[in-house]
């Protein structure tokens, strides 16, 4: 097929994808304009867009949106880094020692059905509202996917490659460096992706409950008290867009640079949220 047609095909795919979304937005806009939906509860997309422009500081007002986004990103990334620092070593330990895993798993399975947000009341009493509480809640949300993915990656490696390296005189460090880390890398990256997604998704709720003055969750929740619905929608769209950007741009690039290049098969992708 000539390249021109391939580009045409791609454009068609994109248009087909965007058409229903645009249709929905148009229907929404019309519903508000004709008074079918109440503008004070469901503002028209054009109103939301105008509000976004204002919040971005394009009309000369203070650009508050960037401040909120920055604060949120900082907290989510910090929590994610902590989750990796704790989850990966613990995952290696539990993945390598079946006995340790069997003993620890009752505690883990008691922790697992708990949403990370449920710890917020305790943290609020101990640390009060603020960054520390939010970061710990997000950490608790992010650490389990990282831990489980690491554990699965290490376990999937199997014993034979370890025996091979050991029998050829490799030290335990060699086993770690040349067998375990490369073998578990796809699962590790999947775990990182999931962990960051969980951190980001937990962040909203944590910020609504515990933020003092900044963050997207705080922006949404405080806009509610002024019935400033368009700001709320701007916040929701920002949350979704940044979440998507982290997942596809950041981790997508990382996966293409590592997994897709070094490994034949793609690592199993995990769940959502």
């Amino acid at each position: 097929m000539p390249p021109g047609f391939r580009l045409f095909d791609r454009v068609i795919v994109v248009v087909q994808f965007l058409l229903p979304i645009l249709g929905l937005l148009l229907f929404w806009e019309l519903a508000v304009r004709t008074g079918l939906a109440q503008a004070s509860i469901l503002p028209a997309p054009s109103t939301i867009l105008a509000r976004a422009v204002e919040l971005l500081g394009l009309t000369g007002e203070r650009a508050v949106l960037f401040g909120h986004i920055g604060a949120s990103l900082k907290r989510a990334l910090l929590a994610f880094a902590l989750a990796v620092a704790v989850g990966v070593p613990l995952g290696f330990l539990l993945g390598l020692s079946r006995e340790a895993q069997l003993w620890v798993s009752p505690i883990l399975s008691l922790m697992l059905p708990l949403p990370a947000v449920a710890w917020t009341p305790i943290l609020l009493v101990v640390f009060g509202p603020g960054d520390l509480t939010i970061v710990i809640v997000c950490f608790l949300g992010a650490v389990f996917p990282v831990l489980y993915s690491t554990m699965q990656g290490v376990r999937a490696c199997g014993t034979q490659p370890v025996w091979v390296v050991r029998s050829m005189g490799g030290s335990r460090l060699d086993v770690l460096r040349r067998v375990l880390i490369p073998a578990s890398l796809p699962a590790l990256i999947t775990g990182f992706k999931l962990g960051m997604a969980h951190s980001w998704r937990t962040l909203v709720a944590a910020e609504m409950l515990a933020a003092l003055s900044s963050g997207l969750g705080y922006m949404i929740f405080s806009a509610r008290s002024y019935m400033d619905v368009s700001t709320m929608f701007v916040g929701v769209v920002c949350l979704a867009a940044i979440g998507m950007a982290i997942e596809h741009l950041l981790f997508g690039t990382l996966e293409r640079a590592t997994i897709h290049r070094w490994y034949v098969r793609d690592a199993g992708t995990g769940g959502r949220q």
Binding site: P113, P121, V236, L239, A240
Partner: protein
């Protein structure tokens, strides 16, 4: 992400303790025992970390007739379960219908797929403040959050179930003169059922977590999430820990007990094991 796998067969000893039972008792006992001792001796603050026995005692009182309100914890549990059931039930019906539309029809795929992939990245709980405006502080807010949390997994799994079915099954049904309704009834519905149950299992897990958080943000009265958040305002640590313990145990029971049993049954009946 289940943890337990069949233990390696060991040589049967005459008085071997069932390790599968011993391990949880010992590890959880150790955790709570150390906590108890540390709190009782004052190594850790008994206000911030009340000893487990005190937590259980306060849970026992608040679940009984002398609680404030009487049988408060039971009421919280009942309301949380009601919201969970209502939201998940809604997700099961609407999610399967949307899944069927995406999997079976061209228009369904063309319309719903883009819209779903646009909505899915929104964190479920970000809907809460908007829903609060629409419905106010009401059960409908929490139920809708539960519905949103559960429906994506159900839709995804129903679509996967349809895609996994081989074309030949359709051909067989068609060649024997099955009508569209008959194909749906005898081929598609049994074919997607195991996948639907997997979706349900994952969806219920997400829904339970979302429900607790939504209740903290939006419940007017009662519900486990509301209970722990309310207790925080009075710095009633024992109630918070009791609530967290209840949430965790109930969540385990729902995921392992109810949905797990359902899954086992269908797998036994149809012999399909859905890998995810």
């Amino acid at each position: 992400m289940t943890m337990e796998t069949a233990a390696a067969p060991r040589r049967a000893r005459p008085f071997a303790l069932p390790m599968a039972l011993v391990r949880p008792v010992v590890s959880l006992g150790l955790l709570f025992g150390l906590w108890e001792i540390a709190a009782r001796t004052g190594t850790i603050s008994a206000f911030l970390f009340p000893p487990p026995t005190a937590i259980l005692a306060s849970l026992w009182v608040s679940a009984g007739p002398n609680g404030d309100p009487p049988f408060g914890t039971l009421l919280d549990i009942a309301l949380s379960l009601y919201r969970l059931l209502a939201g998940v039930g809604l997700a099961l019906v609407l999610g399967s219908l949307i899944g069927l539309a995406i999997g079976l029809t061209r228009w369904g795929r063309a319309i719903f797929k883009p819209i779903i992939s646009a909505i899915m990245p929104i964190p479920t709980l970000a809907w809460t403040p908007i829903l609060l405006l629409v419905f106010g502080i009401d059960n409908r807010t929490t139920i809708t959050v539960v519905f949103i949390a559960a429906s994506f997994e159900i839709i995804y799994n129903v679509v996967t179930g349809i895609e996994m079915m081989t074309r030949k099954t359709y051909w067989v049904a068609a060649s024997m003169g099955a009508s569209r309704i008959q194909t749906l009834r005898y081929v598609i519905v049994p074919g997607i059922l195991p996948y639907l149950i997997t979706g349900l299992k994952l969806g219920v897990g997400y829904a339970w977590r979302a429900l607790i958080a939504a209740e903290m943000l939006a419940a007017s009265s009662h519900g486990l999430g509301f209970m722990i958040y309310d207790a925080q305002e009075y710095m009633d640590m024992k109630s918070i820990y009791g609530g967290i313990l209840t949430i965790s145990v109930l969540g385990l029971l729902i995921e392992r007990g109810v949905v797990g049993a359902l899954e086992k049954r269908t797998i036994e009946k149809w012999g399909v094991n859905v890998e995810r």
